[in-house]
Symmetry: C4
Subunit: 483 residues, 4 copies
């Protein structure tokens, strides 16, 4: 038996809530309370087709994994009445879809892409507004986001000349794994918002180029799907949001380990959702573009707040907000043999604690400026760590992400002791703009920029990148044009 | 008997000056010299209806209180000739009134308001030009005004991770009174210019949200009116401009105490009116908009200066310009048992003197940049005080106002030792834009921003906000977009 | 007998050069070599009427003083042929003259002028392009010019509260002479370019307001004319460009002393003309506006350079370029009993030498940014002098000019030890915009701003303005809007 | 026998590659691998006329020198079919050529050129897009390029007064050779891109003005051609890119010495091509302007990268990337008696090594910001060298290039110990805009600016330019308008 729209429509309340996803009907009434993204976003689509919003942000196995089969109510009757989705297909496309379609047709050839900024510009023009808003947004006034990148521009080189550099090797190891560049993909979520192949674009291009991908807990493809897309020899790390329930969390870690992931990057800078206004505004802007008439204020009880409706907020509702040094690190050590890296260390003091706690690495990061506004730029934290506690670098590996856009940025970080640097948004932009080819291009650009920069600096290997080669200047250089 | 316009009109000189207010006639000839705002502004309306300019800036009881009943000449004859006010009502509205009316109809729903900047933008669009000019103006080139806000952006966080923050309580006490947030309404005047319910909007929303309002001496509602609008348990403070006559001033303080106000914030940074050009220009701009033809220069004796006609100048003419540490603090102590806070301390030296003088608190403030241009930003004064004289914080409570626009601003101030922070303009904008609902929204935004910020910083209570969590950086970050 | 144009025209070469000025004919052939502004500018008008360019930059007595009567050839025959000047009068006016005429008619009333910036804006709109270019121009890229003003914005106040300020007196003495404000008119040339009464506007308004005018050597009115316009009790100082011939220079000083001037400000920062591009370009721009067709490059020997044609260059050709501490100061002491002030001291070292040399005062100045580009801003020099050599302030009086635009600027300079500050351009703009009334307005604005600032700072007299009240901050504030 | 187009066209592959240059046919198949600019750029013109791209960047003797005569296949049959070049001549010009033609006709007369910025503006308007792109481009985001110039603006003067300066001599010696100014032409390539006489314009004007030209290895005229254009007494230096083959490199040095060049400036900052995006984009922009339809992305194997096609990349493919202090300096000493200067020293440490190595001079330079992005500005390196190692200045001569645009820039560098400064781009712009007359003008401007600046600073000779006359300030001045 198949369900008709008329049968489904009444189930649109918290006491009985059904949704249609890919022409199947699900009863999610009992799941409402458990939904990591909160009940509100589901209720918005109660009794209706939710495929469009569901699909790009949930891996394929989500329903199987989280909803008992008794709640899988069966197929939609697509013969009788055309479903909402069908209806929608036959209608004209949204204005944003039309914009994207036109822009895709006008992308410049990859041979004309010279820099990560070029890739970002193409992405901005060609990916859906919702994707751009989610990727590019940062907290509050986006100060930390911009300062992350600006921080690099306060470091200048003391370039050395008359050193043999015809041979130049930018490769390194990360947690003992070979990497063709001191660069890895930093966990960045929901790649599918911008390209149907999403994270798989990144996995494939990284594998081919021998760099390491740290897979996000919020990938639009599941951890197994991504592992399956990797080359046999390819190294993947996993970015973990710890579930508040230790048992569930431990199972998650064991699953990951069994899938062959090589390290756990425990995220510690995102215990609560932050305020990303660009992302929150995005659906309103799309609505206004479609209707042409923005809603206006009416006296009376206030409608529900915008905050929390955004894509971002939906992702981490069940995270553990009470992780501690004393409890969480030993626990994680007890459930896995994988190396442990803390992702989101934001000050020197915590770098020291991490070394004491015996973790294998720390990723200096403020989540790309997406969590605590006015968190220090990671490059500034690295600088302070190198200056005040150089001993830490021999106790664990130090990485950094946030604001890396040029080969020289990478070189500066390595000079100050970073073992490697991560990039997040640029990979999302690259795959959104050109799919796998875009990611390959990105890596090639960084490789070219790095080897050029190393040679001009007088360095043949990453070991030659030492603190004396950089200087923090006391003035603020002019900005790159886009800042 | 009722007065006709023809009878009133001749009384338009300093030797006989009558005005019509709300269809009643008053002889203010002898009051001219005593008017806090000076005689000039009254003479401008001599022999005419002054209701429009009188009403938004004077509490209801003003005439009763300051003008002997013998000068209340009686009602206007509204039957015979239509009064000026009536005439005006039947006429078409001014261009600014039309603009406001249209803009009010287009206000976005409150659910789309994400930040204090959003509230300010709506206020700018929807409140009368005169209100905007009065609220937003600051001294001279408005440097201190802008630097107040910019100062916060030089402080970055050293965020701590792996601290339990699922429980997070941003509440505090101010002078022993419980406050749901370390935030209070800093005395800001003439709320009625922007909304008919003026300060009452603030009183009601603050009461509901359990935060404390410091009521301005220049409120458009009287101290009793505001007290009457408060909840029984609600805490109100009073911002005092001391009258030069000690007896009058003492009586004022006793009245306030009797009304149940819980503290006196003695304003010490506004002994003379300052130069607020935006406010002074405002009536000219309105005139020019109406007439379309700005006046031009003619040789001959110069017309009276603009300075002094502005709304601002009108308010504090009888203030005591000769207050001193030796005389004024003991005097105030002698007339009230209420806690005393000095509002407008602008340097470390005076903070030390305040501690010696035994006051209960100081409000580091430069009057929102509205008094001495180039006064140091309060956040910078707080920083110096914490660095050089940490002992002061145990002798009195230290507050700060000026430039606070985000939860992170509040957190930074608390980290450096502030017990709470005040906001002035944002409350005026919020009530102007949406009335009481706007004020409620403002408080909810700050609460959300504060708890998010505290958690991401690793802090569960305001006691966890310690100096080591912030760092004054040696570069100037990019500005928030509106600066 | 009167000369006809036909008779005059052939005398247009270096070997015989006649010019018409105010309908009289002069033979200036022998004077060409002596002209302070060089021969080129005269030859441009050889055989023609030069009144238009001659008049605004030469005092009335120039021809009498510098040209033997034998070279005064007699009147022009104005009956026969209309002179060039007449011809010109009957023609239509130049586009710039028409612009000025229209703009003058639209000047705002003085009551709407709130600041020196307002006066400057009116001047910019209403004075001839040539005048604006000459007044506003500065050297090279105008860096020192702009930095002069910006320097003040790095000084913030540590305002003191609870000090009695109802009585507030901003007056001071300068070289023992009473001044109602710590402000004087700094020598600024060619006021007539902008207003027919030129410097006399300044003299009269200064006299009425009891402030002191330092009269420029390059005034468009002569030293006697200006002295004659002053009140009997009025104090005037004289700004001297020393002629390279000591005898001529000594006579000049004695003449000045006999005219009753009270001090000699010897200019030491302008030994050669500088590169003021805005001024040099000005005649080209006017030509292009008239003709609509700018000239283009043609191969061949290059035409004479622009540099040197500018108004500025014309004024100081005979100055002494070899003045020294050893020779010049004793010489000047020997020829006058007047106090001697060095105008144009630009560093601490020279301030010390000046004190050793026993002069009565120094004016820290870089000539308003019009001479050496990248000379330190005077406010910065004052700061260094106060910090490193406070003893100097008791040996001589220290003044400053350059960039003063607000009362707070004056207060800051006084806090750091300046006895008074000079303003140049603002006086030229004020008189250009509104004549004497403009100058009066300027003084009133500064007085209001100063007393307001002093009171809000807790100061009753200039003696209360002490170094502890200002602080040089380590960030660069946002700029005033016009910078 | 002459070749027809039909015969040539098939030879358009790597296995048989012919090109037409100035109506002669060459077989360059075997040369492809040796081409310093790589094979790709030649193959683009295989089987076709390459004159247009070949000519402006290759000296006349290139084919004779690098291609065996057996590969000179003989003349093109220009009678039969019109050649491509002819065909092209008869066609309409490109849009860029038309633009240049029109702009050249509108150049302002040289008498209106006041500054190097003026010359640059005319060049920007009047030279081919390709030339502008090549000259103006710098690495990556062009930060070092802009910071080079900005660095000067952090140095202010402590001008001294009352010093005799009527006599003022800006001349100096460089490596013992007299120079009328402490200024030399820094090696800058491909002058012919902008003017048919290219470097010869510079040679002639420099000779007439008695300043020294350092001739680029990549000049569009050959070293002998330039030497031949020089005056008998004229001093020329040579900028050397060392060939990786020592024997070839030695021969090159000996040739240069025999031609009478007086010093070798060994370039050490350009061991690999850098990323100059403006230059790389230039041909695409020209194509797009012509066609109006930019190419778009198509899925499939990526076309060859843009990087490497740019003019810049073509020039230094055979350079020695393994130069060292130990090997290269002694080698160069062994093959020439000429003084040796290292061009491209970028830090204090290497300046010390250079002194130890016994070279005669160092040119502090980051190649005009065209090589390592974020290399410290040379003016900053000079400042550090003077501060930390003043002894170096007595061991060798120190020069600087990069960002010098004003006489005051030169003076600042000399104050800090530079013996002279080089300018590159400005000379290219000057000759491109006005040919030899432009270069003469440039030198006259610098001379005027220098002598004016020296006099106003109180200096008569370059020996008077001492470190105490400049101060590095702790704020960043406003920028010159063009930055």
């Amino acid at each position: 038996m198949a369900w008709t729209l008329a049968q489904i429509e009444p189930h649109s309340t918290p006491s009985s809530c059904w949704v249609i996803i890919q022409n199947h009907v699900y009863d999610v009434t009992e799941f409402l309370a458990e939904h990591p993204g909160g009940a509100a976003i589901i209720l918005k689509y109660a009794g209706r087709d939710a495929t469009q919003v569901y699909e790009p942000i949930h891996p394929k196995d989500t329903l199987q994994k989280h909803l008992p089969s008794s709640k899988h109510l069966g197929p939609l009757d697509v013969t009788a009445t055309s479903t909402l989705a069908q209806a929608r297909d036959s209608q004209q496309k949204t204005k944003d879809e039309l914009r994207v379609e036109a822009a895709k047709g006008n992308r410049p050839p990859l041979s004309r892409i010279l820099s990560l900024a070029d890739l970002e510009a193409v992405a901005k023009a060609t990916i859906p507004h919702k994707a751009w808003s989610y990727y590019s947004s940062a907290s509050d006034d986006e100060i930390s986001f911009r300062e992350n990148e600006r921080a690099f521009s306060r470091f200048f080189f003391r370039a050395r000349v008359l050193r043999a550099v015809s041979w130049c090797d930018p490769s390194t190891t990360i947690l003992g794994y070979k990497s063709s560049l001191p660069v890895f993909v930093s966990g960045a979520a929901l790649a599918k918002l911008a390209h149907p192949l999403g994270e798989l674009n990144i996995t494939r291009a990284s594998g081919a180029a021998s760099i390491i991908q740290m897979v996000s807990s919020n990938s639009s493809f599941s951890a197994p799907e991504i592992a399956a897309a990797a080359l046999p020899s390819q190294v993947l790390f996993f970015q973990l949001y710890k579930h508040r329930n230790d048992a569930i969390a431990a199972q998650r870690v064991r699953d990951i380990e069994n899938l062959g992931y090589k390290a756990i990057f425990l995220t510690v800078d995102a215990v609560v959702p932050s305020n990303r206004e660009r992302d929150i505004r995005s659906p309103w802007e799309l609505e206004d573009i479609e209707t042409g008439v923005p809603p206006v204020y009416e006296e009376g009880p206030e409608a529900q707040d915008g905050s929390g409706l955004g894509t971002a907020g939906a992702l981490i509702m069940n995270d553990d907000r009470d992780m501690t040094w004393e409890k969480t690190i030993p626990w994680l050590r007890s459930v896995t043999r994988l190396p442990i890296v803390l992702k989101g260390v934001q000050c020197v003091e915590d770098a020291l604690l991490a070394a004491q706690a015996g973790v294998d690495g720390i990723l200096l990061s403020n989540h790309g400026g997406r969590q605590l506004e006015y968190a220090l730029p990671p490059m500034e934290v690295l600088y302070r760590l190198r200056k005040d506690h150089p001993e830490v670098f021999s106790k664990l590996e130090v990485y950094l992400d946030g604001g890396v856009r040029r080969g020289t940025d990478i070189i500066k970080a390595l000079c100050l002791g970073a073992k490697a640097v991560g990039l997040g948004r640029p990979f999302l932009y690259a795959q959104g703009a050109y799919g796998e080819a875009g990611v390959t291009k990105l890596i090639r650009i960084l490789e070219r920029e790095m080897t050029t920069g190393m040679r001009l600096l007088g360095a043949s290997t990453t070991h030659d990148l030492t603190p004396d080669l950089v200087e923090r200047v006391d003035w603020q250089p002019q900005l790159r044009s886009k800042l």
